[in-house]
């Protein structure tokens, strides 16, 4: 459906910015180098042939323990879904983020709506978005320690803010 988007990407960026492209069940995807993340996104938005003017979704994936997870691949993926209202095509972009430095440049300057989605990915996965105007937790409370959707966060660990205390008046 959106092969043109991938063609445009590979034609425009030949310096290794596009690590891999593919198509799965009618959905086109591309894996982008971390350093070129904002540049590629800006190109997709502004190029008349792609014109990805609508931001759909941004989230992250923790690939720790995944069977299809290669040894040398970065642990986290930032996943971005885009849509073109004019051309009616979609594309999915990945950006690998390593565990030791889980950061990537923010896309707020490209699509304003990314703001809260990046906050969510930061909150739940601990991916830092460099240059984000307001990178605070959005779902969990500020006192929360850690990032609950990381695979190594204990499944049933709770961090209560308040509990009943024995001996107090109730």
């Amino acid at each position: 459906m959106a092969q043109i988007v991938l063609d445009r990407l590979t034609a425009q960026f030949s310096g290794g910015e596009i690590i891999e492209v593919g198509s799965s069940r009618g959905n086109e995807w591309a894996r982008i180098k971390r350093e070129a993340w904002v540049t590629v996104c800006k190109f997709l938005r502004d190029d008349p042939a792609t014109k990805m003017d609508m931001f759909i979704d941004l989230t992250a994936v923790d690939r720790m323990g995944l069977r299809t997870f290669p040894e040398d691949a970065p642990r986290f993926d930032v996943v971005l879904h885009l849509y073109s209202v004019g051309h009616k095509h979609r594309v999915r972009l990945y950006c690998g983020v390593p565990e030791e430095d889980p950061s990537v440049d923010t896309l707020v300057s490209v699509w304003e709506g990314v703001n809260w989605f990046e906050r969510e990915a930061y909150d739940l996965y601990g991916v830092r978005f460099k240059g984000h105007p307001d990178l605070r937790r959005i779902l969990m409370y500020p006192e929360f320690v850690g990032h609950p959707l990381r695979k190594d966060y204990p499944k049933e660990k709770r961090q209560p803010l308040v509990r009943r205390q024995a001996g107090t008046r109730e």
Binding site: P148, K155, E156
Partner: protein, 176 residues
Amino acid sequence: MGFEFHTTSLQAAVNWARKWSLFQYPFVTACCGMEFMSVAASKYDIARFGAEFPRFSPRQADLLIIVGTITERQGPALRRIYDQMCEPKWVVAFGVCASTGGFYQNYGTMPGADQVVPVDVYIPGCPPRPEQVLDGLMLLQDRIQKGEGHSQITIAAERGYDVPIAAIRPKELKGP
């Protein structure tokens, strides 16, 4: 006729009035709210039990109905609402999420509202049928009449009233 007799009689009369005039504060957070509306509406009609009047200020309410999932983040707000209510006050956990956390077992959900406020009646179900809610309400009325509510017991203990029946409840539970 001693002073003691009058005290208990008065308590019985007051409790009778209390149980037929519950002013509820619905703390509705999730889908159980739909079932709560059903109970409150004309078909099931909790007005029959004198509990039809939702107050949206905890200061005017004496029955806190916790309807739906409580997250850890909501804990302090729920506790504050309970603290703001005038005594004596009662708490009903409506549905499994409010009672135990329900099918949520994760980092964000509180495993039952009784972690932060003392709950008098637990109504199971996901969501509970309106009949179950009415049953729970009648159960609560029984407890109010007997002076067994958590806050009633605390007040009685503080003021030196007769020990409420709830104090001998564990023995009852040991029965066959």
